[in-house]
Symmetry: C2
Subunit: 343 residues, 2 copies
């Protein structure tokens, strides 16, 4: 039997797509246009993992229970507070008859799914381990990929965990590559985070010598790391929740001028105004942070009379997996940091 | 003396922007980059006015006292319960020396401020009258417009209330004018609402004869109204919460093709996917609806593998007041509908 390409046939009792659905059917008998994955690990979205960690007072057992509770209730790993998901890694176990010759996958291939866990039917049989420093949950379980679902085969010339860590945020650097033009000044909030560093790297490559990439970080260690590894031209230390302070610090390192583009990669709330204020009129703010509040951005920009284009970070853009894996292949610095922090 | 362009110099005892500030300084001696307005009326935000009315048991004298109490305490008319403000009407009394030649205002001009009262320093000398049916408070008083504050000169050839009704949603049609190109197919969700009709009008003007403006509405009356008044090329009737249905209906009236641009003006939740699914790859979705959820849009597009640019509707864009008032001046149809519904 063939299901809807977007997976609506698995939504329970609602006429919506799987992502906004309260609950999806996680029965692991696949439809003819679905793919069954034997899951080995979940990479939880950073905003989601942080929220769960805080709710559970950083207690690993409580975090485990919370994750199981969510998946048992919703049939998918979608944080009920943040709405966000993450991605998974696994091996192809079965390919529906309709897809066998249409996709470049075969049984046994190791893949990372690039659609969010927030819409992916998932069953967890056992949580083996949780690695809170890398938002990773190792499990035994199964998941379903819909016909429209995007994925990346994991490269053989790169450690799996390294590829996975980067693919998790592939949309951000690929969009950065599209948005930044030669000579641009670019502010990256949350520059020392995973997506932040990749964005800095791509921004610097595109902005070139005449451009300036400014990374906002929370402490001196992060600032030094970014500078030493040539990921930014300037690092500034500050609180992304304090727009006046961020604005003043940006002006100080950018010849008194507002920047052309701001990329928000921060994983906490209330950073909208710090992204909007430092950008010049007709500039652009790219919100990749899943903690962004739509109304705070929309009304905030109006309140200060800023004519800036504000873009909602789309996790997908054509070629995003390649852009991101290439960054890691090209840059030894980036590779080293990623191995250190996320593998 | 020059103040901060965003008005932080008037915030008392906090390091925040004027809007979240508890209290602002409403001393009416202006800084060199401020404008002094002789205020004739406040248009209180509907949520705020309703709250005050209920708290005061609809007693006009009590409402007067409450408004005076708020402004005396906070230096601005920001409802302490709802957090919202509204807008004001007045005439320009003084322009700071730094701004005299930089802005298109002169002393005596009649203006409406387009920044919220929730951040505007205000002093009320006397409340003359309260008109509860239109949330209007007629006063003697003064207010300050910051350098970043936006405003519209009120046209002399248009009823004041008609202008105010349209200025309320000025961001949407002005952005539409920027985004639509000749020959584009444009889908407007919520096409029969206030911002929807203005967007349809601007989209049709820009897309031209080769373009196609498709309005989604909820019933036949609305569809007929849009067609009769030549605001759309095609009207489709459907539920903006049902993306599959919307997609099928759009394809049916657009030669089987997805549209170039979708503008969301719906005032209910869960319409993100109906905005994303009908748009072609590399197309654009403009979310003007304040009911948009950031994560639903971001993860939703990724979930269906759609490479579309999603823009957060900024209430402000340069020239937005002019674009909107011009639409009403140009179109007798639009003017008639607005007078009927909103004045």
């Amino acid at each position: 039997m063939k299901g809807c390409k977007y997976g609506t046939h698995r939504v329970i009792n609602e006429n919506v797509l799987p992502q906004p659905a309260i609950k999806v059917n996680n029965d692991m008998n696949i439809y003819d246009n679905e793919v069954l994955i034997n899951v080995s690990a979940l990479n939880i979205d950073s905003a989601s993992f942080t929220q769960i960690e805080e709710e559970c007072n950083h207690d690993i057992e409580k975090i485990k229970s919370k994750i199981l509770e969510i998946v048992n209730e919703k049939g998918k790993m979608q944080n009920p507070v943040t709405g966000s998901g993450g991605m998974l890694i696994g091996t192809i176990e079965e390919i529906g008859s309709e897809l066998v010759d249409k996709i470049d996958l075969k049984v046994g291939d190791k893949v990372a799914t690039l659609v969010s866990l927030s819409l992916t039917p998932l069953r967890i049989d056992e949580i083996i381990d949780i690695k809170p420093d890398i938002d990773r949950v190792e499990i035994k379980g199964k998941a379903i990929l819909f016909e429209s679902g995007i994925y990346a085969k994991l490269p053989k010339d790169m450690e799996e965990n390294l590829a996975l860590a980067a693919l998790d945020v592939a949309g951000a650097p690929a969009q950065t590559q599209k948005l930044v033009k030669e000579g641009d000044s670019v502010l990256v909030l949350g520059a020392a985070g995973k997506s932040g560093m990749l964005c800095c790297y791509e921004a610097r490559k595109k902005a070139g010598r005449k451009g300036r990439v400014i990374g906002l970080v929370i402490d001196d260690n992060q600032a030094q790391c970014l500078i030493e590894n040539k990921l930014v031209d300037v690092a500034i230390i500050g609180d992304a929740k304090n727009p006046n302070d961020v604005l003043q610090k940006v002006l100080r390192v950018n010849k008194g001028k507002e920047v052309d583009l701001c990329i928000n990669c921060v994983n906490v709330t209330n950073t909208e105004m710090s992204s909007i204020l430092p950008v010049k009129d007709n500039g652009c703010v790219y919100f990749f942070s899943m903690a962004t509040a739509f109304t705070k951005a929309a009304l905030g920009a109006e309140g200060v009379g800023k004519d800036v284009t504000m873009i909602i970070g789309n996790g997908y853009t054509k070629g995003h997996a390649e852009v991101t894996l290439n960054a890691l292949k090209e840059s030894e610095n980036l590779r080293k940091i990623f191995k250190n922090l996320y593998v």
